[in-house]
Amino acid sequence: MDKKQLTKQVGAFWAHYSYIVVMFVVMIVYAITISANGSSFRWSHITAILSSQNTCIIGTMAIGMALVVLTGQIDLSIGSSLVFTTSACIVVFNITNSILAMIAAALVVGAILGFINGALVGLAKMPPFIATMGTMLIYRSLSLSVVRSMDTAISGSTSSQFAMLRANSKYDFLRFTFGTGKILSIPYITLVFLLMVGLFIFVTKMTKYGKSIYAVGSNEKAAHLSGINTTFIKVSVYVVTGLLVGVASVLQACKLGNVTPASSGKSYEMYAIAAIVLGGISMAGGKGNLLGIIFGALSYTTVNFIIVSIPSLTVDIQDTFQGLVLIIVILIQTVSPVIKEKAHIARRRRQAEAEGKQN
């Protein structure tokens, strides 16, 4: 009896918090590979994961993606949006040398890009996949064509990059005090990411707006008949995503100091989706906890680190492993109820046939 109860409890924990288990398993594997390399697993390994751009920048954008996915939609443009907003905020910084102007530019531009997505999907009723695929192409290509023709005194670099001007007086503060700085051995940019997750856990759990996001994703018709303005909700999550892309672009600028339109942020939308799926958020909409994003993003980064730490593996094979981890984790989540159901029916069938024979 006790054993049964225990398995039930373990099952319930797995159903709600599988992302925590996943992260610990991945961490343990990482620790093993490190010790196999002859060194020992230290706190610095963990802060490296925490401060990685995969965790902080993709993680911040993944919060927006999670909101979009919770409403049953998708945003493929976030990687390109990141390039566009980072370009814009670097240019503004180079011209003004003002931190506030830079942040404002990132947020405003991000929100506009998000609103364009939202308007296409929510107002023009286009399929989200197609609409955001279109803007994904547009946003990146616009940055690319601008960088080639811009005066290097404003773009801050050669013809292929936007870079923050070292000559600006705020450069050192942004890049070194904030961008790569730490407090209590936790990087500032990690704190920004955690702060954003905390803020949006609050929004989704404790505000009426948050509940309506879940309602729209779970049953749009019922949400509409409850008086919720479903179009507003569906457009707004794209705008919020744009704002979060703005935040991520400030992190990108401060951590790396530059952005390369041709290559920066490529496939980030896929990595963000991977992070939220590993974080236990359902792609079908309406289900999932934003807390999972922290663990999802960490798991995802750690898998990268594991691959890098194994000398015989090249970077080229990285995506294969990431893909495999993703498929395995999702497989466990989708297959276990099917197996359970099959086992139940088989048991039923045996019982029924046994009864049939008795009669």
């Binding site: 509940k211 049953n219 008949l225 008086g227 029916i345």
Partner: protein
Amino acid sequence: MKRILEMSHISKAFGGVKVLTDVHLEVNEGEVHALLGENGAGKSTLMNILSGVLQADSGKITFLGKDYYTPTINQMEEAGIAFVHQELNVINDLSVVDNIFLTRELTRKFGLIDQKKQTQKTKELFESLGVEIDPGAMVRTLKTSEKQLLEICKALYTDAKLIILDEPTTSLSNEEIDHLFGILSKLREQGKSFIFISHKMPEIFAIADRYTVFRNGHFISSGDIKDTTPRDITSDMVGKTFVDVDMYEQRELGEEVLTLDNLSGRGFNNVDLSFRKGEIVAFTGLAGSGASEVMQTMFGALPIEGGSITYKGKKLDGSIAYFMKNKIGMLPTNRKENSVIKDLTILENFYIAEHVLSLRKPVISKAAEEAKYQEQKEKLRIKAASSADAITSLSGGNQQKVFLAKWLNTGAEVLLFNNPTRGVDVGAKAEIYKLILEFARSGKTVIFNTLEIPEVQKIADRCVVFYAGQVAAILDHKDVSERTVMNYSTGIQSQR
């Protein structure tokens, strides 16, 4: 006469709610067997078990001498059982021929489809049945009745021995019904059997040979149609207690609060009605009568196309949220599709509509919400363990009560209930009637849409009968009877 189907001791529960308890069904060769019962009696569930869509929790199916316990859809199809669903399963973008031969195409060399032979076979089949449909036509262009016949033909082509017809006449005209019945009779002579699900008595007595009645998931009676009367079958269907209990009470009604003035909208025209404070008004009408559409228009869920809606001297027109702000609430029909937000908890489902009205305070106060919920839970006698449980953990009746509470909680003075008792068990139905009476006593105006006349007799002060998008009659409580309402709702009679 040869018995071809025997279903015995079948039970089935969904998440703790028993929908079938130890039921039986026997069908002979060459007969039309009427399966009768109210909405929620378990007919569809049993048919889904028979066709392998659902698995019974216990019991046995014997078909053509072979035993099945938990068959799959394919097994039952191969055995010779075909299911013509109420919502037709034809593919609109294929031709008639392609639909009939879908997944069993006749082929020539290299697996190419032999279109000629398929068309020929289809023509032969249609001729033998007297069906007049162009085999080459796109299914999209067919009338509903033709689609229905197409489904039956499809089943016959697979050599089905037993065809289940789930309310096949709902959207058919009288001539079309006659035509369908002619074809059924012909097939019956050829030894085919039918299970015919319907609750229209005249049809059953015109076509069926034998019948089985279910009530609330239980087997009630079975026998030859010629040995019974519509009255007996009806009382088997609704049960004694159901007909006898009279809870109606005459009440003092308040002033007129809501008027529809020459209102037109999707599927209805020129509706003039007025409602008083504390009044209970029933809307009724067959599918397509416009009753449900009028209700949805009164809530902003469908657009006003002409005329006006006035509540306490103010003309209303706008979004659903606008109507909610003006004290109108609507419980939609089809709970699962339109009310249940399955990923939210009971408390969240309860509060989701109120949130729309209180957006000025964007942050939720959980303690206050919980207290409010507990108060309503007490008042509406909702049986639920924790408010943090999933809404889907509740029985149908309790879910519906949560949604009633959800609308009360918006402070609505006019409550529109569209089929509030659909898909809930008899006990919960009675509870819902009591609650509606309580709401009215406390000064709310309740308008409910229903297809079940006993419901109207139980609680309504007045009954508005719709026919073909118009008000056919407004009946006072004492004038409501099954026969009068039927006459008005089928257009046999009209007050105006």
